[in-house]
Structures are given as C-alpha cells and as structure tokens.
C-alpha cells in the first residue's frame, strides 16, 4: 500500500528556506505572500487495510519521521 507523509515546519518556527524561496518567487514577479518548505516521504507499506497502514505510518511519524516540537505531519494512504 502506498503512503505519503507530508512533514511541515510548525507555525511560528522560523523557516529560512521558505523565506528564501518566497523571496526568489517575488523576484520572479509572482505575488507570493508566504512560503514554507517541508518534506514529502513516500512509503510502500505492508498492511491489511488502509486504516492499518495509516495507523502504522502515524507511529513511524511519532517515532522517527517528524519531530513533534518543530514539525507537524499529515499521512495520506492510497488504496492499491
């Protein structure tokens, strides 16, 4: 089963990478008010159901994939 994890810097955490990207977009003439840069982790997991896959990936986020002090995460599971 395919799962995608979106990890984002939490609101209030300074994101210099997002600021640099936002400013570069501004220089290109795009009207961007804010940019935040996170990361995407694509996983292929063995699970009996999408719900089980989601629960498993959430445990992965809590243990390793995200640091709850500075990052939030979102898990999406797509059926095979």
């Amino acid at each position: 089963m395919k799962a995608t994890v979106l990890v984002r810097p939490k609101p209030g955490i300074l994101d210099p990478q997002g600021e640099a990207v936002g400013s570069a977009l501004g220089h290109l003439g795009f009207a961007v008010r804010d940019a935040r840069v996170g990361k995407v982790i694509d996983l292929e997991v063995d699970a009996a159901s999408p719900a089980e896959a989601k629960a498993q990936v959430e445990r992965m986020c809590e243990r390793l994939l995200a640091n709850p002090l500075i990052e939030s995460y979102e898990v999406e599971v797509s059926a095979p």
Partner: protein, 226 residues
C-alpha cells in the same frame, strides 16, 4: 599518591568526525579517553561519555534523528538516567535532543549558510559538572562549525537550563542559546567545539575549561565509586 585518570568514552557513529579530536583533547587533559563504537550496547566502567561532532548517518532526515536509534544510544540514555555524565558536542548535541535527553531541537542556520568561525559565549551557569572551571558571566572563545545549529527551545524551557549563550549569535538560535543542560544537570549539549580549543596554538584554549571541568567531575565520580 597517583590521581586516578577517569575513563571517558567518546562514541563513534558512522559519520562522526570529531571523535579523534575529542579523544586527543580529553587525553591531553589527563583523562583515560576510550573510543566507543556505535554498536556497543553497554557502557560499563565509564565515568563519563562524550558524543562528538560530525554528520552521523549523513544528517539524513534530521540531524541526529537516525543516530538516536543506533545500538549505543539507548545505552547512553540508560547511563544518563542513572546519573552518568554525558556531554554532546555539535552533532552530539543534536543527537541528545533527538533522543529526548535534552530539551529542544536544532534547525538549519537562519542564514542558510554553514558557519565556521570563533564564537564568543557567555557562561550562564558554572555550578555544573561541565562548567565548574568557569565563572558565571565569563566570555569564552570557542569555534563553531555547523549548518544546523539554530536552537529552538520547547515553550516551557526553564531558563536555569541555559548554560551558554552566544555573545554574537552565529546561527539565529532563539535567545542566543548555545548550550543547555537537562533538569538534573548531568547531561549537557553545546554547538561550539571545546575539543578544537584546548591549546593557544589553536587560537584559544577556552574549550579546555569545559573539558577539564568534565574530567574533574568524572574523576570525583570515579573516586566516589572506588
């Protein structure tokens, strides 16, 4: 009468870089500095442990995030929970934060640039096993060299846990924090590299104050345990 040389372990993870400098500096300060491989699961017979700088596991995912699950790290956690002295330098600091032994997290420098230069640090607390040779308010010159040194404390950080602050903040750390300790005061992490500042030939020997404090404290513990 001979003074016992305390045994201080320096952990080598895959990607550690400053382990040899830390071993050299500790030995120069009269410790019995012993290398500890990351596959060790026990830390028997050590009076203190140092997690050195470098780029363990390539800094993949987040700095220190994967080293936290290295076989030796749970042993370091047990050692710390039993009151053992643990010092994390740079990547070692990042690992201690990821492992939950120290509060907070270290993120990309605000400048997005790697900084490599001398930093000036103000000692906020000297009644610790890591700063007993310093005075409160003393300014130390110790080099930093990191790309991910911006310290973000948890919202409830006790200001008493801040041990060192930058006089000239090189990375955007919140409240200029350069080094913190745990509540009990037996675990400390700092981004600057004391092991690179132990001889005037290196530009400064102020790092020796931190490491010699650790050696003193480890020696006291070795004597008390003997």
């Amino acid at each position: 009468m001979t003074t016992p040389r305390p045994r201080i372990g320096v952990v080598t993870y895959p990607g550690s870089q400053d382990d040899r400098d830390a071993l050299w500096a500790l030995a120069a300060l009269d410790a019995d500095a012993v290398p500890v491989w990351h596959e060790e699961r026990e830390l028997a017979g050590l009076d203190a442990v140092v997690l050195p700088g470098g780029f363990s596991y390539g800094d993949y995912l987040r700095c220190g995030a994967i080293a936290r699950f290295s076989p030796v790290t749970p042993a370091v956690c047990e050692f710390a929970e039993a009151g053992g002295l643990v010092l994390g330098i740079c990547n070692g600091f990042q690992i201690l934060c990821e492992a939950g032994l120290l509060p907070g997290a270290l993120l990309r420098n605000a400048s997005l640039r790697f900084v490599c230069r001398d930093a000036r640090l103000r000692v906020e607390r000297n009644l610790l096993p890591f700063t007993s040779r310093c005075t409160t308010g003393q300014v130390l010159v110790i080099p930093v060299k990191h790309g991910d040194g911006r310290y973000v404390p948890p919202p409830d950080l006790d200001p008493g846990q801040v041990v060192l602050r930058y006089v000239d903040n090189p990375n955007g750390s919140v409240d200029d924090i350069a080094g913190v300790c745990n509540e009990a005061g037996n675990v400390m992490g700092l981004m600057p590299h004391p092991e690179h500042a132990v001889d005037p030939l290196l530009g400064s020997d102020h790092g020796a104050l931190i490491l010699a404090s650790l050696v003193d404290s480890a020696r006291r513990r070795a004597l008390a345990a003997a």
